[in-house]
C-alpha cells in the first residue's frame, strides 16, 4: 500500500463515524454542503487576519462537511442531479473565499507580488474546474492533471499549520497551470480522435 493510501484509510475511520452520525440524524446533504461553505468563509476570515493556525483548524472542520456530503447523500439515497450541481457551485465559493482571504492579507501587508501570485493561483484553480466541466460536456471524461480540489485543500491546510503559505501558493499556481494545460491537451486529442473515427 502507498503512504497516501494509508493516510486516506486512517482518515476514513473518524469520517465514517461522522457520516454515520449524519445519516442517523437524517441531515440533508445539501445542508451539509452549505454549512461547509459558511465555515470556509470563517477560515478565509482567519486567513485574512493572518491567523494561520486558527484558519487551518477551521478549514479541517469545513472540509469534513465538504467531504461527507456526497457520502451522506449516497447512504441516504438522496443522490440527485441538483445535489451534484449545488456541490460544485458551493465548492467554487469555498475555494474563492480562501484565496480572497489571502489576497486581503497580502494587500494589508502591502505585498503586491503575493497579491498577484494568489490572484493567479485563484484564476487557475477556477479554470481547473471549468476546463473539466466544459470538457465533460463534449467528451465522456476529463480527469487528468494533478492539482484538483482535494490536493488544493490539503495544501492550504499544510500551508496554514506550518506557516508556509507562500510556498504552497507557488505549488498551487504552477501545478494548476499544468492541470489546465493537461485538460486542454486531453480534450483536444479526444475530440480529434473522435473526428478521425467519424471521418
Amino acid at each position: 500500500m502507498t503512504f497516501t493510501g494509508l493516510i486516506g484509510r486512517v482518515c476514513m475511520f473518524p469520517l465514517q463515524l461522522i457520516i454515520s452520525g449524519c445519516v442517523a440524524l437524517r441531515i440533508h446533504p445539501n445542508i451539509l454542503t452549505f454549512v461547509g461553505v459558511l465555515i470556509n468563509v470563517a477560515a478565509a476570515w482567519a486567513l485574512g487576519l493572518g491567523k494561520f493556525m486558527t484558519a487551518g483548524l477551521i478549514m479541517v472542520v469545513a472540509n469534513i462537511f465538504d467531504f461527507i456530503d456526497g457520502k451522506v447523500a449516497h447512504e441516504l439515497n438522496a443522490v440527485s442531479a441538483f445535489g451534484g450541481f449545488w456541490d460544485s457551485v458551493i465548492d467554487r465559493f469555498s475555494d474563492i473565499s480562501l484565496f480572497i482571504g489571502l489576497i486581503y492579507l497580502y494587500s494589508r501587508l502591502d505585498r503586491t507580488d503575493y497579491v498577484m501570485v494568489t490572484a493567479l493561483a485563484m484564476m487557475f484553480a477556477i479554470m481547473t474546474s471549468y476546463t473539466r466541466a466544459r470538457a465533460e460536456s463534449l467528451i465522456s471524461k476529463c480527469k487528468v492533471g494533478f492539482m484538483e480540489r482535494p490536493e488544493r485543500i490539503v495544501l492550504f491546510m499544510i500551508g496554514a499549520f506550518t506557516n508556509r503559505m507562500a510556498a504552497v501558493l507557488w505549488v498551487i499556481l504552477i501545478l494548476s497551470i499544468f492541470t489546465v494545460a493537461d485538460r486542454i491537451i486531453y480534450t483536444y486529442r479526444a475530440l480529434r480522435d473522435t473526428r478521425e473515427v467519424l471521418a
Partner: protein, 61 residues
Amino acid sequence: MKRAASLPVRVLWNAFFWTYERATWQYDLMVIAILAFVWLTPPDWLGDPMASGKGPIGWIK
C-alpha cells in the same frame, strides 16, 4: 543511447501530463516532492510575507 535520453524526457512528460490515480506510487512521489519544496525551501528565498528565516536548510549549519 536514444533510450537513455528518452527516459528523463518521458518521466518529465508524465509528471507534466498527469494521468495517474491517487494512492499510486507515482502520486506518492509527487506528494513527497511537493512537501519537500514546501518545507525545505527557505521562506527568505520566496520572500514569504508571513514567515522568515532559512527553514530546515538553516539547521544544517
